[in-house]
Symmetry: C2
């Protein structure tokens, strides 16, 4: 029986999960490949630190090039994370004729095209199932079974930390800061939660999905992105009243030759399957022109779920090595579509304003909206405002408009002192059917 040799770059949670997945299911994994899998080297720059896992010390190396340049190694598994030095290591491994498996959404969103080209030039495979949706096999589905479809729309809950925070705020009426602290204690949020709560992590993942599904190259920094830091329990309560859950939603949509996308807190109707995705779970909801609506649901993070996806990619490559069959070099990331991107596109929006509690205010607001062509779908005004400032909260849901137009209108409301402050603005998802 052939032995297929792996070198792992990194010894963090995902690396440990990958190691554990192999140990746990070695018999099934090797049986499905028809070859044995051997982890021969693991990059661990501080081999003396206790990693909380029983890995033979002789596997550790401190120089990544001991793995990248090892002629015995078939597959380099990059699990360091971050754009650099991970991109350089992957590029050098591909140039050295190694297949590469990675979970690195940041490096792929930034340098996917270059890495894919290197893989093709060097006739090796580059796989990255774990980079989006953790254990959910969404990339495999899109690039194999679902190739028979053209897709109109994708929606995703792609970050477990923010979905956990929003779920706890919704279910238990807790404030953002309190839930964040709790999530940090449970290991569900990092000490510096910026990448998660500001939506940057989701923008990386959405950029990868957009390239796979629509063939459009939208770097994450070009995706209109808004995090969850300004979402209040007040907003969540109003959303509930209107019949919606608040989710940090990644969305991308193609209509004729026009393409729009964004990452932002979004009101999703209770009846939509994605509204019931709770806590640390992720989900991807797609609508294809043949398959219709599909949803994939699962753990978007965690050592073992992510390790499951990494091992799935390893199996897929190892099967081809074992058979000596031609590698699947078909473009996965595609950058060739001639779609024009129009930013967020037109959507309904939820708006919370703080306004002076005096006559004429509502008239001023609605006539300003009117001049910008923004129609009001629902409005709620409550007595209980800020008594000291003599302001009340006003909640609007407005009909479809461009976000840029809405922002101009809101700026005018502030400039003309019709309102004291813009509390929050969130998209409202309206299913097409």
């Amino acid at each position: 029986m052939k032995s297929i040799k792996l070198g792992i770059l990194g010894i963090g949670n995902v690396a440990k999960g990958t190691y554990q997945t192999l140990e746990l299911n070695r018999k099934k994994i090797e049986g499905s490949i028809g070859a044995s899998i051997e982890i021969v080297k693991i990059l661990n720059r501080r081999p003396d630190v206790d990693r909380g896992i029983d890995i033979p010390k002789e596997l550790y190396v401190t120089d990544p090039y001991e793995i990248i340049e090892d002629s015995e190694i078939d597959i380099v598994v990059e699990l360091i994370g971050g754009i650099e030095p991970a991109t350089t290591y992957m590029a050098d491994a591909l140039k050295a004729g190694k297949h590469v498996v990675t979970a690195n959404k940041a490096a792929l969103a930034a340098n996917g095209k270059m890495l894919q080209n290197l893989a093709q030039e060097n006739h090796v495979m580059l796989r990255f199932e774990a980079s989006v949706g953790g254990g959910i096999p969404i990339i495999n589905a899109i690039t194999t079974s679902l190739l028979s479809n053209d897709f109109d729309e994708i929606l995703g809950i792609l970050n477990g930390t923010t979905n956990y925070i929003l779920t706890q705020m919704t279910d238990n009426g807790l404030a953002y800061e309190d839930v964040l602290k709790d999530a940090q204690q449970k290991g569900l949020a990092e000490a510096d939660p910026t990448a998660d709560v500001e939506g940057y992590d989701v923008a990386n993942k959405l950029s990868i999905l957009i390239s796979l599904i629509f063939g459009v190259d939208i770097p994450p920094q070009d995706i209109p992105t808004q995090g969850i830091t300004s979402v209040t329990t007040e907003d969540i309560n109003y959303a509930t009243e209107f019949g919606y859950k608040v989710k940090l939603l990644a969305s991308a949509k193609k209509q004729d030759d026009v393409f729009s996308c964004n990452v932002e807190p979004t009101l999703v109707p209770f009846s939509h399957p994605i509204a019931s995705v709770s806590n640390e779970f992720n989900a991807i909801y797609l609508t294809g022109n043949a398959v219709d609506d599909l949803m994939f649901y699962g753990k978007g993070a965690g050592p073992l779920p992510t390790g499951s996806a990494v091992m799935g990619d390893i199996i897929s490559i190892a099967r081809r090595i074992e058979k000596e069959s031609d590698y699947d070099l078909l473009p996965l990331l595609r950058y060739d579509e001639k779609l024009s991107c129009i930013g967020e596109g037109q959507h309904q929006y939820y708006i919370r304003l703080s306004a002076a509690d005096k006559p004429g205010v509502l008239g001023n607001i609605s006539s300003t909206f009117g001049r910008f062509g923004i129609g009001i779908a629902s409005m709620v005004q409550r007595a209980e405002g800020d008594e000291e400032k003599n302001t009340v909260p006003l909640i609007f849901i407005v009909y479809k408009t461009e976000r840029t137009v809405l922002d101009e209108a809101l700026q005018e409301l502030v400039d003309k002192k019709y309102v004291e402050a813009i509390g929050s603005v969130m998209q409202v998802h309206r299913p097409a059917h």
Copy 2:
């Protein structure tokens, strides 16, 4: 560019959906293969009947062997349905060196092992994504990305007709017969709904999933199966009161070396993601030892969703033909595990009894249950019974027990005339975590 040639057996809804999926997305499909796809012959025994689709008449043949024995044809697509003559046609196609794609759950559940062996002997591929879950790419996921997992449990809503009926009964309080009639008018149920409403269709699909996931060979007729014909709106209302939805659930579970499975109306807690799968949608919920909980959700039937899955299999085979790469002959259906099957296993059950409205009845029932070792978890007795017969409905949810033991206890209740009748018995799903 190479041209890959298909012959389609059948001209029903799935065949039409497959044809339409190719016409709709030909550019993307052929681009992803790197070869053109040509449907050269379609079996249509009555070419003069209007099929409601614009297919060139010269493609029609009336003899299946004009397709099976055509040396030009690479892939035979079997979309006739039913065990025979479909099995014979597939076997003959495989023997003739054709790759075979099928959507036929009945033929696969009955003869999958034989067909798979024939595919291996003749060094060709047999694919059947569309046989379970319609457009949901569950079989591809299990046999590729998820091979890194050992699975403890699967749950499925695998029949759109019965899920539509139960959803309408639940949401609109309608009686079974009325919803069935409505579903038949909408084309969601067949004129003879037996295979759907008695659970036989689901048992076929579960048998295929069990072989793929657990490697156990359980013919559909050996799966304890109960349909939805005895589910009443009364039961659904009680279930709602207890916090459950009633679903026709396929389930299979492995605990140590013991395996249990069944198809039956089951109470699923509102909080479980599968409870929110409504109307004609299907879903498969799996728990892997690395990936944890996963759910795949989508359209389980319909010409285009099923056509999407058939075309996905065709793409997968065509890619390998185009590359002249070795065919993926790994066993998909596995029949080698040494698990012992214990039937349904132990579960909680919901029981509706009709009992005389007189003193001592409850005591008799609970002491009978007690003698059989069956503990009562909840009980509801309502005043409003059948006044003429002087009976009242009694609803029990009992702790985990074997169904065979429960049935014995219920028989004794009837024999001893402690109760007038057993209204209904349904499983209660208790998530492990």
